[in-house]
C-alpha cells in the first residue's frame, strides 16, 4: 500500500544509522582519529571516498563514528519532552478545570519565546554539554507533546467506550492508561519520530555553536563547524556530515509518515 514504500525507505535509513552507531568499525575504512599527514584536506579519491580534513582524518570514518552521538541526541532530546509532555497532557486533558487553565497559560508563555533561543539561553546558564542540552530541550520541548496529547485526550474522553469503562466501574488509572492513552498516543508518537530529525538538527546547531557535544566527542554539527574555515577550498569536510544529517532527517520524516499510516486506527 501507499504507506509501505516511504516507511521502508525511512526504516532502512534509520537502520543504517543504528548499525553505524552500534558497530562503526564495520563501515568505517579508517580509524576516525588517525592522522594522515600525507593527505591533508585531500579531495575525495579511491583512498578517501569523502576526502579528509585538515589533519588528514578520513571524513567518512569521522561521520560514521559520530552517528552514535547523534543517535543518542535524537533519542534523549526527543524522549525527555515526550515523557514529560505526554504525562502532563494526559492529566490536564482528562481532569481539565484549573489545572488545564494553568497549563494553557504556561504553555503560551513557553511558546512565546523562539525555541532555539530559549534552549541556548538555558544551556548558557547550565553550561555547555549534552546532559545540560537534554535538560534545556526538555524544559521547552514538552509543551508541544502536552498540547498534542491534551487535545487527543479530550476527544477520547468524550467517546462512549470511555463512558462504558466508567459504567463498568473501572478505576480512573485503568481508564486513563489502558483505554485513553493507547487511543490518544498516535499523533504524539508520530510527532516524536519526526521530532528526532529536529533533535539531530538542534544537536548539530548547538554542536556548531560549541554548546552541545564537547571534544573529543564528535557530532555531525561539530564536524560541520570544523570544516567551516575550508568551506571554499575543501567543501567535503562540511558536506559529508551535512549529507548524514539530511539522510537521518529524511529517515525520521519518512518513518514518521509511515508510522502515522500504520497506526491509523480502524473504526
Amino acid at each position: 500500500m501507499r504507506a509501505k514504500i516511504p516507511l521502508a525507505i525511512g526504516m532502512a535509513l534509520l537502520l543504517l544509522m543504528l548499525v553505524c552507531a552500534a558497530v562503526p568499525s564495520w563501515f568505517a575504512p579508517y580509524d576516525p582519529l588517525e592522522f594522515d599527514f600525507a593527505a591533508l584536506l585531500a579531495a575525495p579519491s579511491p583512498e578517501h571516498l569523502f576526502g579528509t580534513d585538515q589533519f588528514g582524518r578520513d571524513m567518512l570514518s569521522r561521520t560514521i563514528y559520530s552517528a552514535r552521538i547523534d543517535l543518542q541526541i535524537a533519542v534523549f532530546a526527543m524522549g525527555g519532552p515526550l515523557l514529560i509532555g505526554s504525562l502532563i497532557g494526559l492529566l490536564v486533558g482528562w481532569y481539565g478545570g484549573w489545572a488545564d487553565a494553568v497549563f494553557g497559560r504556561l504553555a503560551d508563555v513557553v511558546v512565546t519565546f523562539p525555541f532555539l533561543v530559549l534552549v541556548i539561553a538555558i544551556v548558557a546558564i547550565l553550561g555547555p554539554g549534552l546532559i545540560n542540552m537534554y535538560i534545556a530541550v526538555a524544559c521547552v520541548g514538552w509543551v508541544v507533546y502536552a498540547r498534542l496529547m491534551r487535545g487527543e485526550v479530550r476527544v477520547q474522553k468524550a467517546a462512549d467506550y470511555v463512558a462504558a469503562g466508567r459504567v463498568l466501574g473501572y478505576s480512573t488509572g485503568r481508564i486513563l492508561f489502558r483505554h485513553v492513552l493507547p487511543n490518544a498516543v498516535r499523533p504524539v508518537l508520530v510527532y516524536a519520530v519526526t521530532d528526532m530529525a529536529l533533535a539531530i538538527l538542534l544537536g548539530s546547531s548547538l554542536g556548531y555553536l560549541g554548546l552541545g557535544a564537547q571534544p573529543p566527542e564528535a557530532e555531525w554539527g561539530a564536524l560541520i563547524a570544523d570544516g567551516r574555515n575550508f568551506f571554499t577550498t575543501a567543501p567535503w569536510v562540511s558536506l559529508t556530515p551535512g549529507v548524514a544529517i539530511v539522510l537521518a532527517g529524511l529517515g525520521f520524516s519518512l518513518a514518521g509518515d509511515g508510522l502515522a499510516a500504520l497506526l491509523d486506527v480502524k473504526r
Binding site: 462504558a164 463498568l168 473504526r267
Partner: protein
C-alpha cells in the same frame, strides 16, 4: 412487583454557552434544563420505555441512571438503597448491577482492544470468575449474544454495526447486571439488523430476568417491546403508564401527536394538517406553564401560566395535562 431501580425527582441543569456580547452585558449564563423533576422506576423482568424527541432529556436520564452524570436534585435508589452517595467498592457493586448499552456501536468499543480482552477486562475487574475460567466465560458470553467464539481474537473494526452492538451487549452482560439501561441501542442499525438486536434484548430479558430501560425515539419499537412507557417532552415526563393503554388511548396531547406522527405501515397518503404544529422549543428558554402549550391543539389560556402536575387525573396512569380528564 417492587421497583429494582428507581429515580425520584431528578433534576439536572447544564450551563449553556454565552456569547461575548452577552458576557460584556453581564447577562446571566443561560441554563439548559435537561431534566426537571423526573421520576421513573423499573422492576425485574420489566421493560420501561423512555420515548421523546431531541432535547427531551432521555439520554441525560439514561446517563443519570448509571451515574455517568450526577443529578443536581433528586435521588436514585437500587434495591431500596440510595445510590447517590456510594463511593469505592460500594459504587463498583452498583456499577456491576446496573449496566448500559450505548447508541453508537462504533464509538462504544475501544478500537485498540480485541473483543476478547474487552470482555475479559470486565470479568477480571469485578472478579466474576477465577482467572483460569476467563476464556471459557468470554466464549459463553459471545455465545449468549450469538457471536462465534472466534470473535474473541478480533478487533471491533472487523465487525458490522449489528455485530458490534452484540459485543456491547456482551460487555454489559459480563458483569451479571440486574438492570440494563439501553440508550437508543438500535437506532444506528438497519431495519433487518435492528430486528435481530431487538429479539436478542427480549430473549436475554426473559432468560436472565433483567430489568430493562429502553430509550428510543422510535414509537413502533416502544409499542413492540416495552411493558410501560414514559413519554418525555423538554426535560419532563408528561405521561407514564402501561404501553398498550397509552397507545390505545393516549391522554396527553403530546403523546397523541407523537403517536399520530409516526408513519404507519398501511399505505395511504398523508392528507390535511400535521399532527402538531410548530417546532420543538429551545431547552434554553422553555415556554412557561406547560412546555407543550405553544404547539398544543387544545391549549387553554391557563396552560401558559400553570404547569400541570403529573398525576392520575381521574384515570389509571399519571399524565401532566390540565385537560387529561376531558377526553
Amino acid at each position: 412487583m417492587s421497583a429494582l431501580l428507581s429515580a425520584s425527582n431528578l433534576t439536572r441543569r447544564f450551563p449553556g454557552n454565552r456569547g461575548l456580547l452577552d458576557m460584556l452585558a453581564r447577562k446571566p449564563r443561560p441554563v439548559v434544563h435537561a431534566l426537571s423533576d423526573v421520576s421513573i422506576d423499573v422492576s425485574a423482568g420489566e421493560t420501561l420505555g423512555i420515548v421523546g424527541e431531541s432535547g427531551c432529556g432521555k439520554s441525560t436520564l439514561a446517563r443519570c441512571l448509571v451515574r455517568l452524570i450526577e443529578p443536581d436534585e433528586g435521588n436514585i435508589s437500587f434495591d431500596g438503597a440510595d445510590v447517590g452517595s456510594l463511593e469505592g467498592p460500594a459504587r463498583r457493586k452498583f456499577n456491576r448491577a446496573v449496566q448500559m448499552v450505548f447508541q453508537d456501536p462504533y464509538a462504544s468499543l475501544n478500537p485498540r482492544m480485541t473483543v476478547g480482552s474487552t470482555l475479559a477486562e470486565a470479568l477480571r475487574v469485578h472478579e466474576i470468575v477465577p482467572a483460569a475460567e476467563i476464556n471459557a466465560r468470554v466464549a459463553s458470553l459471545l455465545d449468549l449474544v450469538q457471536l462465534p467464539a472466534t470473535a474473541a481474537t478480533r478487533y471491533p473494526h472487523e465487525f458490522s454495526g449489528g455485530q458490534r452492538q452484540r459485543i456491547g451487549i456482551a460487555r454489559a452482560l459480563a458483569v451479571e447486571p440486574r438492570v440494563i439501561i439501553a440508550d437508543e441501542p438500535v437506532s444506528a442499525l438497519d431495519v433487518s439488523v435492528q430486528a435481530q438486536i431487538v429479539n436478542l434484548f427480549m430473549e436475554l430479558q426473559e432468560r436472565l430476568g433483567l430489568a430493562l430501560v429502553f430509550i428510543t425515539h422510535d414509537l413502533r419499537l416502544v409499542r413492540h417491546m416495552t411493558h410501560r412507557v414514559a413519554v418525555m417532552y423538554l426535560g419532563r415526563v408528561v405521561e407514564i403508564g402501561p404501553v398498550e393503554d397509552i397507545f390505545t388511548a393516549p391522554r396527553h396531547p403530546y403523546t397523541r401527536a407523537l403517536i399520530s406522527a409516526v408513519p404507519q405501515l398501511t399505505p395511504g397518503l398523508l392528507r390535511g394538517e400535521p399532527a402538531v404544529r410548530g417546532e420543538l422549543p429551545s431547552p434554553l428558554s422553555p415556554p412557561s406553564g406547560c412546555a407543550f402549550h405553544p404547539r398544543c391543539p387544545i391549549a387553554l389560556p391557563q396552560c401558559a401560566a400553570e404547569r400541570p402536575a403529573l398525576d392520575a387525573r381521574g384515570g389509571t396512569w399519571p399524565v401532566a395535562c390540565l385537560r387529561a380528564d376531558e377526553a
